[in-house]
Each structure stands twice: as C-alpha cells, then as structure tokens.
C-alpha cells in the first residue's frame, strides 16, 4: 500500500501552480477563438474568488415544482454544504447551477443564477461555456471507459475545444491537485477504469479541475466510497477550496460538518435555513432544521 502524498505538500503545490496557471490563462485568452464567460477574463491576477448567487430559483420537472423560490449566495473560495432529506431538491438545485437540469426532457428552471454578476441563464450565454466554468463531480465515479488515465484527465480540455494548452503539464497539475499523481504517474496510459473506486473518483475530480473552472459542484461525491476514501476526498475538498468555490451536496451530515464552512438546509424544495456550519449544528434557528439534524425525521 503506497503512502499517501503529504497533504500539506500538495497544498503548497496547488498554490504554487495556481499562480502559474493564471499566467497560462492569460496566454489562453489570447489563443481562444471565442470570448469566454466575462468573469473569467476579468479575474484579477492572483486568486480573486467567484461567487454564485441564486435569486428566486425554481426548478420544474414538467408540472412538478421541485425547487421553490430559493435565494442563496455561495461565497467565494468557501465550501457550502447542501443538506436535507431525500427528495428535498438539493441535487436538483445544484444541477440548475451548471445548467444540467435542463438536459432532462421536460425539465426547466426559472429565476436567476449569477456567477460574479453574470446571469448564466441569459439567452446570449453559451451553455457549454457555463459548464466549462462551473464543473461538476458526480456521485458515482464515471471515468470514460475507452480512455486511459491521461486521456481521461485531458478529456475535459479536448471535449470543450480548448486550444493552446500544454496537455502534459495540465494533466500533471490536475492529478497532483487531486492527490492522485504519485499513485498513477507511472501508468498514465492504463485504462481509467482500472483504478479503485476512491481513485476513480479522484480521477474524475482531476478531470473536472483540469479545465480550470471557477466553481466546482459536487453531488454526493463520496457516498459510493468506503470510509477511508471518503476522508481522502474530504481532505481534497479542503485543499481545493483555496482555488475554487465549492458546493457539496451531501446526505451525510457529519461530512457537511467536517468539510463546509457554510451549510444550507432544504426541505420539500424550499431553503429552510442557511448559515455558518457550527451554528447550524449547535444552535439552529428553525425547528425543522433542528429536527432533521438531530435525527427526529429524515
């Protein structure tokens, strides 16, 4: 069993390379054929964070309203956890942020979602650009089965048509940031699906961050993993927040408590309460929040 890379070392590496990648981004901007989503271009040198704001967001599956009038802001470079019982709408809401919700036939979203003051539902916005800037990691690890580890990480860049990027460099950076580099650096050509469950999920995370998004959405990223792999993912989230704004949906309240600075509780499609995690877990305002987290229902 190989030793895990020292998380502190990886954090330093992530910070170092992030400034380098800002310079790379500047080069990219010149090389890119189409205009990127404005906020990316206007980011100040260094690490300006990105905020997501939801305004009266509602989501529908046909006639059924799964999310009702949610107002919520996700602070920059912070981890926000979405908790709530099954079917409360937390996954649906998060999928509205990167506009994946509308891929479902008959599904639609209403209201406003802004990334740094840009309304991503505006008709002039290219939805694929939204998804490049707002990445998503799914519950079940889903590496592309026909691709090697290297190709998997590079897939995001290739699929979204990014040019002028040194793939090898970017892939190594992403794998380091995901804490996977030491484990796979000697077998980048091996199939992506030859890794263990926890490694596959970190591979998917590397794939997501390789395109350098501004926000990373995680839909129950550790629920399919064993406890050790789960803790590794959580450590990873702590490191990643230095660079990205992170929203994590979780049904595991202890995970929300360990990982998120802010927690939002949803019930039946509504946002009941949100605030600093330690307040929610020691003294929540709403009795419904209290009932849920103390296990009186759900």
């Amino acid at each position: 069993m190989s030793a895990d890379p020292d998380p502190k070392e990886d954090a330093r590496t992530v910070s170092d390379i992030s400034t380098r990648s800002e310079q790379r981004r500047a080069r990219d901007r010149d090389a890119r054929p189409t205009a990127p989503v404005p906020s990316a271009a206007q980011a100040a040198p260094g690490r300006a964070g990105h905020t997501i704001a939801l305004e009266k967001l509602s989501a529908y599956y046909g006639e059924t309203r799964a999310v009702r009038d949610v107002d919520l802001t996700y602070a920059a470079n912070q981890v926000t956890a979405m908790i709530g019982p099954s079917g409360c709408g937390k996954s649906t809401l998060v999928r509205c942020i990167n506009r994946m919700h509308e891929e479902i036939p008959g599904a639609r979203a209403e209201g406003k979602v802004t990334l740094d003051d840009v309304d991503i539902y505006d008709s002039s916005i290219d939805v694929t650009m939204v998804r490049r800037v707002i990445g998503m990691v799914f519950q079940k690890p889903n590496p592309f089965p026909t691709m090697s580890i290297f190709d998997n990480v590079a897939a995001g860049l290739r699929l979204s048509g990014v040019r002028g990027v040194d793939l090898r460099e970017r892939v190594e950076w992403a794998l380091r940031a995901a804490g996977l580099w030491d484990e796979v650096k000697d077998r980048l050509g091996a199939p992506g699906i030859s890794l263990s469950g926890g490694q596959q999920q970190r591979l998917c995370i590397a794939r997501t961050i390789a395109v350098e998004p501004e926000v990373v959405l995680m839909d129950e990223p550790a629920s399919a993993l064993d406890p050790i792999a789960t803790l590794k993912i959580e450590d990873l989230v702590h490191e990643l927040k230095e660079r990205f704004t992170i929203v994590i949906v979780t049904h595991n309240m202890q995970q929300a408590a360990r990982v998120a600075a802010t927690t939002a509780f949803m019930l039946n499609g509504e946002l009941i309460e949100h605030g600093p995690t330690d307040k929610i877990f020691s003294n929540p305002n709403d009795s419904r929040t209290e009932d849920y987290i103390t296990g009186k229902f759900g």
Binding site: Q254, F281, S282, D291, I293, T294, G295
Partner: protein, 230 residues
C-alpha cells in the same frame, strides 16, 4: 415527516437516562444537605461521619455520568440541542461533585469543635439560615434544569445574593467573637463552614447558567455579588 419520535430511540433513551442520573445526583446532594443541617444544629459527630462516607455515592455518580457522556459523544455524535444538553450535563455533574465535596468539608469541621462547643447562638442561627437557603437553591436548580425554566434559573442569583450577605455577616460577627480562645476557635470554624455553604450556593447558580445555555445556546454569567452585573 413520519415517526417523529421513534427514530434514534436508543439514543434518546440513553440521553434521558444520563439526565435523570445527573438530576439524581442533585437529589443525593439534597439528602447530604439535610444531614449537614441536622448535624450542625445538634452538633452530631456521628452524622458528620456518615456524611463523609456517603460522599462516595456522589463521586460514583459523577464517574458514571462522565463515562456515559463520553460514550454518547463517541457513539452518537449528538448535535444542536442534544449537543448542548450533553455539554451542560457534563458541567452540572461537575458542580454536583463539588457540592458533595463542600458537604464533606462542612462535615469535617463539625467534630473539631468537640462535643460541647462554646456556641454563639447568633452566629449559629445565621449559619443555619445560610444552610437552609443553600438547600433551597439546590432544589430550585434541580427544578429549573428538569423543566428548563429559564426564569427560575435566573432567580437563583437573587437567592444566592442573600446567602452571600449572610456569609459576610457571619464573618463580621466572628471577628467580634470575644476574648475566649475556645469561642474564637469555634467562630473561625463557623466562618469556614459558612464559606463552604456559600460555595454550594455558587455551584447552584452555575447550574442555573447551564439551564440558560441548554435553552438558548448562549452562555451568560448571572450577576451575583461576587460577580456584579455591569
């Protein structure tokens, strides 16, 4: 939202058991105080001996509750109001143990005065009054915690002020106890006893503060004459 109170039944039972155990500790203190007051009134040295031996029960209860809380924290990860209750119980049982120790301190002082001590009735009267007031504080703190009554808890600081006033009076009288060395020695013991009773009162006030914490999540010290409100 079905099954409102059947989830985590084991946890709730355990939590209730710990709370009852803690409040039961206060009941033991009440018994100890009854005995202490009687021993003080009649200079009963044998009763004082019993008080000292019976403190084992208090210590035993303290260890039991402590262990139970540790277990609960490790196994059940309580949050929100459950967490506040658990934290409060930890404090309360500590105060119970302290109260028990103070009763023992008082019991130790009784035999020192011998079988026929030179009693000053005024001082003795004050000490007994203090003891009864402290006993009432103990009962009130138990009631306040059991019913989560914040006002009842806040009222404890008022009662405790009286105890503090009586304490200072005992001290003043003891200073002017006279020239007889036996009397002076007895009077000094009385001040020490009074001090121990005052400590019991303080612990009861602290239990009241825990009641407020459990209910509101805020921790505020009650103003007493030893910690005056600003």
């Amino acid at each position: 939202m079905a099954d409102h109170h059947n989830t985590r039944q084991h946890f709730r039972d355990e939590l209730r058991r710990l709370e009852e155990g803690t409040l039961g500790g206060l009941d033991i203190i009440r018994e100890q105080m009854d005995r202490t007051l009687e021993a003080l009134e009649h200079q009963d040295v044998e009763l004082a001996e019993m008080i000292m031996l019976d403190d084992d029960r208090v210590d035993g209860r303290y260890l039991e509750i402590n262990q139970g809380i540790l277990s609960l924290l490790a196994l059940q990860a309580p949050v929100a109001s459950d967490l506040r209750l658990v934290a409060a119980l930890l404090h309360v049982i500590k105060h119970v143990e302290r109260m028990g120790d103070q009763c023992v301190n008082i019991a130790k002082l009784i035999p020192l005065s011998g079988h026929e001590p030179p009693v000053r009735e005024d001082i003795k009267g004050l000490v007994l009054r203090m003891g009864r007031a402290a006993r009432s504080e103990v009962l009130q703190s138990r009631a306040a915690f059991a019913t989560r009554d914040v006002e009842l808890a806040a009222d404890l600081s008022r009662q405790d002020r009286e105890v503090n006033v009586l304490n200072r009076e005992v001290f003043r009288l003891a200073i002017h106890a006279g020239d007889d060395p036996d009397t002076r020695e007895w009077a000094m013991h009385q001040t020490m006893i009074a001090r121990a009773i005052e400590r019991i009162g303080d612990n009861a006030v602290d239990i009241g503060e825990q009641v407020v914490f459990v209910v509101s999540g805020l921790f505020r010290e009650f103003p007493t004459s030893t910690a005056p409100a600003i």
